[in-house]
Symmetry: C2
Subunit: 374 residues, 2 copies
């Protein structure tokens, strides 16, 4: 291990007492390893929407200015209270990544990993090196690169979590919004493989074509004049009474419940003024729109809305079931769970105001991969 | 049974093809009885908010005009689609009531009820007579009048259903809105009797005093400047993470979730950007405000909102458990589950435009009792 440096660089996000969010690069000593630890040289780590929430501290990323090894932006006063718990704390960022194991503790399990390419989750991957426990490493299959393994957790497990939630809660079809996203494309492939009826809601005809080319059967464009009737048709055809909504704000979640109710009323009578007896549910798992969520309750009394978080889903199913899901991801990393990246950037570029504004847009079809060794 | 008339009057609500809602009195032949049926002379039947939804067809009751034995009002065009299932159907109205059994079929169970005062649910009680099955009659305890038994189902079982839902879903305290209502006062007494921590949200200081006089410990006035901090304090003091909201529209449901989250964060750290791990839930069981429901999702990822309907709760717990609840209501009809009425009206007065506008207001503290024998 003579080629290891004494220090490495990592990126942290800090909410300051001056009402700003600061991104900075810190030079850190290489950590010492306990017997079950390994040191991973991080080769590739994606920027997911869930990373942006921490990284940008709920700002939109357009107001950063750079000063040396740091970039700062003013916080939105409306969310400062929500961020008070992280005031003054340097938070490492980057939920997942992949790289090579370059050093290991004395345990056989740790030693066995030396030289392997592994995929990881757990935070702090916007860094050149990361210490992890050997047991937390997913060895990527022979012939799979670190780049191909970089997104092995968040999106694949979220897609599997949506299908798993559907089964656990007794539904038999899914509605998905912002469905042309990297995650959405994965869900199209997964649902096709598993025979799960899926209604995809997208924001343009171009996105609709992209999903149809992937084999999606039901795609509805929410910018079209006939969005609601088409959505009702698609739900009636699929019995998709559970939705996962990445948008969060605005009227979309309520429109989905309304369309579900109208679809249900095609085959059953309303129960007096209380609507259909069909349970209808929307999980808000993202917040692409920061606007308030708004709905008019025109969908009877059997409905639910709620938050959904991958962490909680994995806790709920237990560690054995979670391991089965991770094993499946590893097996299908080049097929069902393959990610595409449109931009590759160095760690230092994450402090560049224009770059921050670009990935902060969360534009569908744009996916950034950070390469900390550049 | 020589004193029985050949016909009786009942009130029906009809959505017409001209886009109106029509209330009318119909003269009906007295029904024939099968061996297990009894005929009840309806003495008293309340106007509950759940009756108004059917009766007024989602109008506010201010635009009725009377023409003989009918009164009509224009429908709100926005809700006509939701009402399409009832177009042209004469709907009997009145969810519950009480009266004397004046005729019975040949079965011993039916014959045994003759002369008894019974309380009933099942719809169509805005009528002078109502045929029901003997098995569906709740005999009111000795010394209890029909008026005292008129509201034996909807409000008592809803209050019991709220406490029951709390226990089934693993919560240990309740938040209730529009808490000075007849139902709210019942819930204050029930929670005191059962040792359930309860946070009451009211709309004036007068309502707050009324509930405190009933023994309510936690009462928060939503019109006060310090509403949110007081609500957070009350939730923190009671661990009331399940709310039942009668208002439905506007920001209140979201404010309750926000206050629950802030209360939870007093004893636990936020889980990164995802807020507390405390599950927080609001059931919207009424729609006092027809405005859209609106919230800003500033309460982490562990939250739920949904519809709640007494019928579904009773189905979920099963018939034995439902019977236990009804038995308790009968035992405590003069104490925990006593109702107060501020106005008593005849059936024909339900067609009077001023009276319709008055009960259509759903004003807290105003409770109408219909006396069909007047």
């Amino acid at each position: 291990m003579t080629d290891l440096p004494d220090t490495y660089r990592r990126l942290v996000s800090t909410v300051t007492s001056e009402g700003q969010v600061k991104l900075s690069l810190q030079e850190m000593p290489l950590p010492s390893l306990n017997e079950d630890d390994v040191l991973v040289r991080v080769e590739a780590t994606p920027i997911n929407p869930s990373d942006l929430a921490v990284l940008l501290a709920l700002t939109d990323g357009t107001q950063f200015t750079r000063d040396g090894d740091a970039a700062t932006a003013p916080l939105n006063p409306a969310v400062q209270r929500a961020l008070s718990a992280r005031a003054g704390v340097d938070l490492p960022v980057g939920n997942e990544g992949a790289g090579e194991v370059v050093a290991a503790g004395q345990s056989p399990a740790a030693q066995a990993l030396i030289g392997k390419t592994v995929a990881l989750a757990g935070g702090g991957f916007y860094a050149q090196y990361r210490k992890v426990r050997a047991a937390d490493c997913m060895i990527v299959p022979e012939g799979t690169s670190a780049e191909e393994g970089a997104s092995s957790y968040v999106n694949p497990l979220t897609a599997l979590g949506m299908v798993g939630t559907m089964k656990r809660e007794g539904y038999s079809g899914l509605v998905h919004t912002a469905a042309a996203s990297n995650l959405g494309q994965m869900l199209v492939k997964l649902c096709a493989a598993d025979g799960v009826p899926l209604v995809n809601i997208v924001r343009s005809e171009a996105q609709a074509s992209l999903l149809r080319d992937l084999g999606a059967e039901h795609v509805v464009d929410m910018t079209a004049d006939d969005f609601l009737p088409k959505l009702i048709d698609a739900i009636a055809a699929t019995n998709a009474y559970l939705a996962f909504d990445a948008v969060g704000g605005g009227k979309l979640a309520g429109q989905i419940l309304t369309a579900m109710e109208q679809a249900a009323l095609r085959t059953q009578r309303a129960d007096g003024p209380y609507g259909s007896r069909q349970m209808k549910q929307v999980y808000l798992y993202g917040g692409l729109s920061p606007a308030p969520t708004e709905f008019n309750r025109g969908f009877g009394m059997r409905w639910r809305m709620g938050g959904w978080l991958l962490t909680y889903f994995l806790e709920d199913i237990g560690s054995d079931a979670a391991k089965d899901l991770r094993d499946r991801v590893a097996r299908e990393l080049k097929t069902t769970f393959a990610s595409k990246y449109t931009k590759r950037i160095a760690l230092s570029e994450m402090l560049d105001p224009e770059t921050i504004a670009a990935f902060g847009k969360r534009a569908t079809g744009e996916k950034y991969l950070v390469m900390p060794q550049r």
